[in-house]
Symmetry: C3
């Protein structure tokens, strides 16, 4: 584990228009950077033709880094293949629903192809062998932003068939599980299993995606296994996880941001491959910086191994709409730390002068000179060299968890709530409302959450839920927990078959309500607020109705219910409505969970994130996501701003500038 | 012919999550249902592998039905093929402009492929042989929602070439007919006829579609021919016709409704295959229920054979935006009867628990328990068991007809009036205006309408019209008929060549006007209403101008004209404008046709639909498509509400509730 | 060179529904037309099967034309191939990124395929041999609207590889030039160059497009070379150049207009093939007629050879939204002449009765009778027979030039300024502002502009600029010129590598400013006007700031600067804002350039375009692009309206009707 906050950047000497390694290292040192991340995606430089290896760029960087007393993380280069490799096997290029890709883009290979694996293994072995003993190398990143890429080659489909045979035994069971009789899709012989690319059965198709996610996770484990053969004990293995990318309709690379749960690999499963998780988080900035994406992604990545993590690609200047305002680069950085990051590395050091991501700008602009953003990084580096040790290894013990699920995400692609309301929209609606109320939470995978750690669990649109999960949640409530579930939770089993009895299956006992109809809201309101996209027509069976629908024909139905079940409570929110309504429900649920807190009275744009540092001191980050000035009333007995050294007591007025960060340490 | 109104549902025992046949039949009986429609699209269950047949699901249903004294319609299962069949012939999967489909979806086979036909014939023979003698089986539905699916395989194209050779004799004639010299598309040798999938000649391409529509109709006749070899005399043959599906942009299955003329099969031609026509009609509900789709579709299907018909798939709960308000399921049902339906079968009995149409909900929700919609069906069943016989075999003798045409629909895809004004938009504009005025009409195919039955004929955008049709219409006017034609009528011949003389070809004599320019309306108005999308610049030649355009540059041109021609009248509406203007013209035309009526003074949301029942009594359905209460002044001498038994006289105030239906029988 | 204004139409006897050649020629003569353009795109008529030739349509037209004393231009028919030719070689049909095209459309062949070239050469030789000696034939049009069509067949890619080898010598140099190391795209062996259709490197991909543009130009030179073997000395060679087509979202053919710089062939390079340039210019009409497209396209085409040109396809009636208002056909015609056209030919004589362009209407409507538009052409023909000779060979000596560049256009597809702000939008923003101020300019290619002719040069988004260009512009300023450059000028070299030093590379010395950050404008304003899409954050280094940004965080940065450099001036406009701001800057720049003029005070909708006629008299066209009446104060000492013969002096009030044209000759 690192002994100081990592502060650095991805560095691509290979992409530099002219030799300026010394100058770059000098500029990094000026910013007090201590680490570079190198080699990732540079396969064609490392192995320009089959079997000929050239590590000179790496060697030069490592030498310079050593001289400067810095560290390096080596990335395996497999995320983008060289063009000579494409020609080795006609199945190397990715085949998806849309046909086979042409060579050019990154992540366009079939990661399950044996030829690809042969060459990937060889370059990984050579590279790790070559670098593992270098004193500056603190570890390895395996691949980059790995996902299954929709691979559907013949070979992959053959493996999927074997997986189905193993899992379901007989075609009869397969047919029954997924309801394949519908539209004549049932099969008698396993050999009649058709090409999955034409599949119109949401359950079977989602099973294929689940299989593919597992394959992608196994691919990472395979890389980790190879790396482990060479790496030193003290060297880490990490991976750069990314999130569902929400496009907003701009052009090529300059489009979108890290929005929600990743559909194409299961983070929890894949995280087993690494010793420390890493991530990249790209988010709106300028007038649209809220901190929500940083917090969501951080809460998810930290929860993977219940452990600190790295931001392996921290947003530098990026696109024109993300050129940071003064002080925004700084608030980004501390926001990451406040979620539990143990360091950040900008992507990337310098803006690239050609190629696809020319305008995904790094810390340096194309002129490779100083600029206001780089200068802000320098000021930040100076602060960290002073106070960084106090901020390292921040620990949290959250009592609230949000449960996420790839399978439900997939299900709601097949069976959308509404064109405009996707799974991740519901996740973010429920997450962001907590965030804005200053209720910190863990974001946990449905396959691996420990109910005993939490007092309140939130399930946004947990459409697909196995009976195991349902019983687990039931026990959680019974033993005193508070469950807050949204519409479209617990609808189907793990294979997307809708439960055929009283909804919500099993848990209707706890919620003490049920429904068997739902509707477009039309002119519907709830607690005076508009209801959008979807509303379940709930009839209670013991539950307390917190709100009835306001609608000529649906007014007898409940929109929100609360029920006491054994030692706990179960809240059901049957429709999508204003966050203000949701927050009101959360407040009541938090009371039921015994989680009232002082800081919950403060709300966005002032955000508080807390934890314990290595010295077991309680640290409170106070962020001001606003272009205006503000005031924050200190809710803590006695605290000290670790940067300004100023001290505050309960009730002190703390002035907040625009995009301000204050870090308070409890005495 | 059925002796009572059919009332039932499509029933798929194959799709049930657990065995509950008895319970389902019990619930159907409780709703006084008397029929199930089964087997359609279940080929893979009936023949799980090549040559092995299993009719056990059918047998079980038929036994239960028999025990309950109900009836069954057996569907041939060919609408969706089993996956083993896909592998028999590489040409079985549909090849269209977009390439060859993958197995998975329904309706993705090439219905003209010989291998497909071999296996289809075998399963049909087996199934019909197996069921024809069962006493409960009242008939067969052949295939389902059959269309040509855009099939364009090599074999199909070869047949098309032969069709062209037969039809046009020489390539010289072909070139001339379609103007192929343009852009060097003319051919000398028949073998130079290129792949139709690249064709850019609207006429030739539409000829290909006409050929495909005929092939699809012949496919149905071929199925009917096979069924006839086995069926009993008293057994019917039907087919489930569907309509142009208007998408509104939602996701997968949950998108769109039955909007207008079907482009991909000619209903009239295909209806020759059946003894009684059937249809499915899905339509907006909740706040958007107007009755117009039900009426339009009913008027078209009834006119196919001038005979009563079945609604083989009647909308149950369907999507979230169609969950029926209280009383809407009832008004749907009676609206169908009022168009001449002899029964309705819901699609479907139960909501399916997995697969593509999981959320195309049936009468039962996924919990398979009672629910408000099912309960409304029960009340309806009870009413029908009381009064159904009075409503059976409703006969109409409409004096107004709207002429529809697949070829014009196709033409206006190639040569659109406007991106936002399609053929079916003009059809619905002209139909809906009549409907809202309570003028009932037949909707008749251009290839088979009998002018002698009508006093007024309406042609919406009848772009393509053969000289035979033109002369027929001319004679209709000459002998006292009233023709009301919209812009873009009579522009081209049957091969989409624009007539090269005075427009409208031949009929300009009757209309006594002509035009050779047209325009985007821009700021144009007509009778104070905005003109949208399109306006022809009409100069009269004897006609009376009912309205000039209000526009700086086009004010000398007429927008609407009326002319007396021999014993009749011809109205021309040269632009697309407000329905209020159209209705004003209709009123005048109806007067010219001697069709003034009292009920025409009543208008939507109160809709009146009338006919004679088996006892030759005149029945008036009065519908209230509104969420408000209303009042209807009785226009009939002496009538009796057949449900409430209340009696009314001319001038009585009849109270109408929201979504109300009253059925008045004349004494 | 023609001795009178050409006035005529494209004439397709082949497409006529019946024989009416005599009548057509009679109607042309009535309109005083003197020329027809024939044969273009009629290959299948000329050679109905391989090797059989039939020139009878051409012969008949030429005989009729001769009898009428008219002229003819013969088009080579290669723009659309016959279907028999498709079958000769599987590589004849165009292969692009989207796969291989099917036969049907025009321009769907691979113009670089040897088989195509063999047959194309043969038909060209036959046709030109057959017609060159006819006395009425004044020349030949080679092909039509030629572009590279995105051809990417294996053979084409092989040639591109050879081009790269010739140009860059080694793969090392190739890798470095385009930065191929990025995402492992670098190669060691030339044989590892991947299929360009998957290329994600904007520089290399744009190099491929540059290569393709050259191939297309060479194809035209090849055609011209063949024609030259047969044509008489006095016969011309022309080509019909077209422009970037801006779609506005309508259907098939009826969509879009000539908007800006053509991406898919370099006009300047291709114009070397012809003796006189031709063009087609389709533009909004009715309420949206501004004259801007006619002026832009004319200024570009005239500048190609610094010479008069033909409008080979002049808009007749075209689509419904372009049916000309009274007097609009006339203003179109004079607008062309005012840009330097030596004649116009309508596309086309008659509206075609079938096929793809049925509603791209000609001068005659489908009824082939007289109509208001044809009648306006008759009046125009009469005017030209009176005054045409005074308008022939108009010469201009503009002192302002706008520099355009295919490579920058391409670059900004890869690296968009904004989804809504494309290269041609910036070109039109800068061009249209000059046009509306009545500042005439040349529109010149970056590869061939002569700075010595101009006092002011404007560069809209000249993103890609070689050092040669930059030094040329620097010298232009140094020697007294005024440069006005927009944002995104001079960013990259000719291979799209962003310059890695101070921006703008080299020219920052002249501009005396620099920037290394840019931003989405957000709430930014400049001189009280909204800034949209893009703003560079400029810091001056000697320049005068003409406007600072109005924005909380960017207010210290300049939006517009002006610098004196040696004998000249350099203006930099760092953001996209209102045309009013741009015009204010232009005014100041024009003063610096000594180009103040009286007419510049007049502005759109009154447009003045001037030049010298054959007799060296100065001609001023005055256009009124308005549906209202207006008044124009004569700014000339003594002028005479050559049509009305009225005389005016400085200060005279000249009345202008809607869509008026007045042509003033200086005494």
């Amino acid at each position: 584990m690192n002994q100081e906050l990592l502060f650095g950047a991805a560095y691509y000497l290979e992409y530099m228009p002219y030799d300026r390694l010394e100058q770059d290292i000098y500029m990094m040192q000026k910013a007090r950077m201590n680490v570079v991340r190198i080699a990732e995606s540079t396969w064609s430089t490392l192995e320009p033709i089959d079997g000929e290896f050239d590590f000179s760029y790496i060697d030069r960087v490592l030498e310079a880094v050593k001289k400067a007393g810095m560290m390096a993380i080596i990335g395996t280069p497999t995320y983008a293949i060289p063009s000579w490799l494409e020609k080795k096997d006609k199945d190397i290029m990715l085949t998806t629903n849309e046909g086979q890709k042409r060579y050019g883009h990154r992540q366009c290979m079939n990661i399950m192809n044996a030829t690809f694996r042969f060459y990937a293994e060889r370059i990984i072995r050579k590279l790790v062998l070559h670098t593992a003993n270098h004193p500056c190398v603190i570890g390895f990143q395996i691949d980059n932003e790995t996902k299954h890429y929709g691979t559907a080659s013949e070979e992959v489909q053959k493996q999927f068939k074997e997986y189905l045979m193993d899992t379901f035994g007989t075609t009869k069971q397969l047919n029954k599980t997924f309801g394949l009789a519908y539209w004549s899709n049932s099969i008698r012989d396993w050999d009649d299993l058709p090409d999955m690319r034409g599949c119109i059965n949401g359950g079977l198709s989602s099973e294929f995606e689940r299989f593919l996610r597992s394959m992608a996770a196994q691919y990472l484990k395979w890389q980790a296994h190879i790396v482990r053969e060479y790496k030193r004990e003290d060297q880490l293995i990490t991976h750069n996880f990314d999130f569902e990318w929400k496009k907003f309709g701009a052009d090529i690379a300059q489009d979108g941001y890290s929005y929600g749960v990743q559909p194409d690999i299961n983070h929890y499963e894949a995280a087993q491959a690494v010793t420390i998780a890493g991530a990249d988080i790209y988010h709106p900035t300028q007038d649209y910086l809220t901190g929500a994406e940083i917090a969501f992604c951080g809460d998810e990545i930290r929860s993977l191994k219940d452990q600190n993590y790295y931001v392996l690609e921290c947003q530098a200047q990026a696109f024109k709409n993300w050129t940071p305002y003064p002080d925004q680069l700084r608030i980004h950085a501390y926001s990451h730390l406040a979620s539990g990051a143990d360091g950040i590395m900008y992507w990337n050091w310098h803006s690239i002068h050609n190629g696809y991501e020319t305008y995904w700008k790094g810390l340096l602009s194309h002129d490779l000179a100083t600029n206001p953003t780089y200068e802000e990084a320098c000021r930040l580096g100076k602060e960290w060299s002073n106070v960084g040790r106090r901020l390292l290894h921040l620990k949290k013990e959250n009592k609230v968890a949000i449960v996420i699920d790839n399978q439900s995400l997939n299900a709601l692609k097949w069976f959308p709530i509404d064109t405009k309301l996707r799974y991740n929209d519901v996740v973010r609606w429920m997450y962001d409302s907590l965030y804005e109320m200053n209720i910190e939470c863990d974001v946990v995978d449905v396959n691996a959450f420990d109910t005993s750690k939490y007092r309140m669990i939130v399930t946004p649109a947990l459409y697909s839920a196995s009976e195991v999960t349902l019983i687990k949640l039931k026990k959680f409530i019974a033993s005193g927990g508070v469950l807050v579930s949204s519409f479209k939770s617990f609808v189907s089993d793990e294979h997307l078959s809708v439960y055929s009895d009283r909804q919500p299956h099993i848990l209707h006992e706890c919620f003490q309500m049920s429904y068997n109809q739902f509707t477009e809201p039309g002119k519907m309101k709830l607690k005076g607020k508009v209801v959008n996209y979807f509303a379940e027509l709930v009839k209670t069976d013991g539950a307390q109705v917190l709100a009835y629908y306001d609608h000529k024909y649906w007014k007898e139905y409940a929109g929100i219910t609360r029920a006491e079940y054994q030692n706990g409570f179960a809240y059901y929110i049957a429709c999508y409505t204003d966050k203000a309504v949701l927050k009101e429900i959360y407040r009541q649920a938090l009371m039921d969970a015994g989680l009232e807190s002082d800081t919950a009275k403060v709300c966005w744009p002032i955000i508080i994130r807390s934890g314990k540092n290595q010295e077991n001191k309680i640290i409170h980050y106070v962020f001001h996501y606003s272009e205006k000035d503000g005031v924050f009333i200190c809710p803590y007995e006695e605290v000290r701003d670790i940067i300004s050294k100023r001290e505050y007591k309960r009730g002190s007025q703390i002035e907040l500038k625009d995009w301000d960060v204050i870090i308070l340490e409890e005495e």
